[in-house]
Symmetry: C2
Subunit: 125 residues, 2 copies
């Protein structure tokens, strides 16, 4: 369970990724695969009326990527957690984050990095 | 997008919630509903072979609840993010966390509380 979690709040975003479910889904799944992480399932939901925002998750063998968009605010939140079950996946997480960041092209980002599973990590030392 | 996020690492957990998808799914959905939050979609996945762990997410009108179990470690991670789109949902998030915490009955917990959307929050002041 030990691993890196990125929690990013993106501001000043525009474009179809904030409102169109198929476009957002395609971006995230391709970014996951491009980073060498593994999709095990996914689920997305577009709020009504159309254009209200999209929420979704890609479940990974390495944990999850969750996204929520607020088109009226030009805002997006991203949560990416990758556990290091078989290898250190931090570099893959950072690569995925760079791809998604480039696609949304936010004017401002608030990014928090967490270490998960630290109790187990300490107990293994 | 402004709201509370709870990231919890649970250690010393036992029982069917770590390995049985239907039991884990039922717990989380009932806990969400009991806390007064709204399910818009959900997706769960059980890793092979049976007993290897379960991963899943409940997508909320208020954002998401994600869970991953590691039965071989007796460990669970929970991520709960509730945005305050129409009201302050922090108390509902804390109530949900208490329900889930009681169900897993961990021997040890590492809980991190994040405030999301802080840039927007500051810009609104």
């Amino acid at each position: 369970m030990q691993g890196l979690q990125l929690c990013a709040d993106l501001h000043g975003c525009r474009g179809p990724l904030l409102t169109e479910l198929p476009a957002l889904r395609a971006l995230l799944i391709e970014a996951v695969q491009g980073a060498g992480l593994s999709v095990v399932a996914e689920r997305f939901h577009a709020f009504e009326p159309a254009g209200s925002g999209v929420t979704g998750v890609v479940l990974l063998a390495e944990s999850h990527l969750a996204v929520h968009t607020w088109p009226e605010q030009g805002a997006v939140t991203l949560d990416l957690y990758v556990c290091n079950h078989s290898a250190d996946n931090s570099a893959k997480a950072e690569a995925l984050w760079q791809t998604v960041h480039a696609a949304f092209a936010p004017q401002q980002v608030d990014l928090q990095r967490l270490q998960r599973g630290s109790v187990t990590m300490r107990s293994n030392i």
